[in-house]
């Protein structure tokens, strides 16, 4: 069974870490990640850019683009895609196409800051 671990934290708080503090946390995480890679259990890992860089596509008819992250709490996170796009317009294009296939709800579009493809899963 594959599990997705979704990371939540107060980004204001994480954003106020010094570069050294940030690097120290990342180094500790890397140790755990390396172990999982060796065991053939780690898939892709992504650190997202801050929510200030996000936009949200509400899958209404017609779809509505809003600045900022998805802020509603009455819907739940059901899945995610990692897509390679030149810019936000292209990402929105993909989101609209997906939205036509599955209307309702929303896509939050967050640029990825760092991405590691992970190891081969056993």
């Amino acid at each position: 069974m594959l599990y997705a671990l979704l990371c939540y934290h107060d980004e204001d708080f994480v954003g106020s870490w010094s570069k050294e503090q940030d690097a120290a946390v990342m180094a500790k995480l890397a140790v755990v990640q390396e172990k999982l890679v060796k065991q053939g259990r780690l898939g892709p890992v992504a650190r997202l850019l801050p929510t200030t860089a996000a936009a949200t596509l509400r899958k209404e008819d017609p779809p509505l683009v809003i600045d900022g992250p998805y802020a509603e709490t009455k819907e739940q996170l059901l899945g995610f895609y990692i897509v390679d796009c030149k810019n936000l317009d292209e990402a929105l294009e993909v989101a609209r196409e997906l939205g036509q296939a599955n209307p309702g709800g929303a896509y939050e579009i967050r640029p990825v800051g760092t991405f590691a493809p992970g190891g081969k899963l056993k």
């Binding site: 954003g15 106020s16 503090q21 850019l49 200030t52 936009a55 600045d67 810019n87 936000l88 640029p111």
Partner: protein, 423 residues
């Protein structure tokens, strides 16, 4: 991370919201700051034992208010507050209380706190000092260090600024849309000032002042979270990120400035560039252009060029043209001339800057650019005169060293040219 490092970070990130809310209750900056200080002291005692509260800002607001309320006469009008019983059991109720207290005020509290720091009667340096002290929570010592003045002098400067602010009577009612927009513009300008205090530092002071740039980025992100649909705030944040991304490549080991085209681009911070690019990309979709967005777009074109030769100078020339329209200034034209020299040649650029000579006669960079253009045109004697003038006007040793490097290049080139002629 140790307990204290964790708590420090939590107190720093909660500070703007907490001090902003306390200011709204007490309508006095000193009282609000003191209340926050008291709450921090209690946090340092209680958090390591009881664990961090779910919402540190709400905890600090409640505890700070309680601590200060005894000392303050209840003469002035205050926000209605929940009964004390509701506050005593903070661990369970804090999130709910925070909503009740701040849900509708949060955004304007922080904006007001930032806005009172950029009162138009305060000189820029005092605005920055006040914001760093009050909003960012830097100690007077840290602010003094960044401004290269004594702690006593900075203490006095901040006290004086606070006095001015107290007399200014910034209204505490929720601002209307127009007023909010004006506050936002003033605050954005101040954040850019803070950034530049760090960015323009050089040599031995660069390390001392770099935290100013980082703090400005933190404030810009904070502002953008409050106003997520303002393209100029996206532009401002993008601009700061894209410029700061080059920080590690901007100075050589001796502290001398390294020009953009000579920088080691592998030292540029790629996640920061990606974030800046994502923001400017998002901002442009609004089709409401402004000076921060245009400058960020220019910075993005530089940041995205893998080598100096890949730079899209024609596009940069056009963007500077747009910037000249919204923010006419001889400095903008001078910067445009650099792009023009790459896109259309040195003569076109020189023609563009010659009319600026009078207005920029005491500006070091003008003579630096002029010298470089003359050099490219082979007018070496005139170039030399221009560079000499630039050195005389340079503000820092790094600026002077940079011009000297240009002169060295000039001497080398003309020596080579002479050698060629002699062959």
């Amino acid at each position: 991370m140790t307990d204290t490092a964790w708590i420090d970070a939590a107190l720093t990130s909660a500070r703007p919201q907490a001090v902003g809310a306390l200011l709204r209750y007490f309508r006095d900056l000193d009282t609000a700051e003191e209340a926050f200080q008291n709450a921090c002291l209690r946090a340092l005692k209680s958090w390591p034992q009881q664990g961090p509260p779910r919402d540190p800002a709400a905890w600090l607001i409640m505890v700070g208010r309680n601590a200060a309320i005894d000392e303050v006469r209840r003469g002035r009008r205050q926000e209605p507050l929940p009964a004390d019983e509701a506050i005593s059991d903070l661990d369970d109720a804090e999130a709910e209380i925070a909503d009740r207290l701040d849900g509708s005020h949060y955004r304007d509290d922080i904006l007001r706190l930032l806005f009172i720091c950029c009162h138009k009667d305060l000189p820029a340096t005092q605005q920055i000092a006040l914001a760093l002290r009050v909003v960012s929570g830097l100690t007077v010592k840290q602010v003094a260090r960044a401004f290269l003045v004594s702690e006593a002098a900075m203490e006095q400067r901040i006290t004086r600024a606070k006095g001015r602010v107290a007399q200014a009577n910034v209204p505490f009612e929720t601002p209307g849309a127009i007023e909010r927009g004006e506050r936002l513009t003033a605050v954005a300008a101040m954040i850019y000032l803070i950034f530049n205090e760090g960015y323009t530092a050089s040599g031995e002071t660069a390390d001392l002042r770099k935290p100013l740039s980082e703090e400005a980025i933190r404030l810009a992100r904070l502002l953008l979270r409050l106003f997520p649909s303002e393209p100029e705030i996206m532009g401002l944040t993008a601009l700061l990120l894209l410029q700061h991304a080059r920080a590690a490549a901007r100075f050589d080991p001796d502290g001398a400035l390294i020009l953009l085209e000579d920088q080691d681009r592998s030292l540029w911070n790629q996640p920061m560039i990606a974030e800046g690019y994502a923001l400017i990309d998002k901002a442009m979709r609004h089709r409401r252009s402004g000076p921060y967005q245009i400058q960020a777009a220019i910075a993005a074109l530089h940041a995205r060029a893998a080598t100096p030769e890949d730079t899209d100078w024609t596009q940069i020339d056009l963007l500077y043209g747009a910037l000249e329209v919204v923010q006419p200034s001889p400095i903008v034209t001078l910067n445009r001339a650099v792009a023009v020299s790459k896109a259309r040649g040195p003569q076109a650029a020189l023609d563009m800057i010659e009319p600026l000579a009078e207005r920029l006669q005491s500006y070091f960079y003008f003579y630096g650019v002029r010298g470089a253009l003359l050099m490219q045109l082979g007018r070496n004697d005139e170039a030399r005169t221009s560079f000499d003038r630039a050195i005389a006007l340079a503000h820092s040793s790094a600026e002077a060293a940079h011009i000297r490097m240009q002169i060295d290049r000039l001497m080398r080139d003309s020596a080579q040219a002479r050698a060629k002629v002699g062959q």
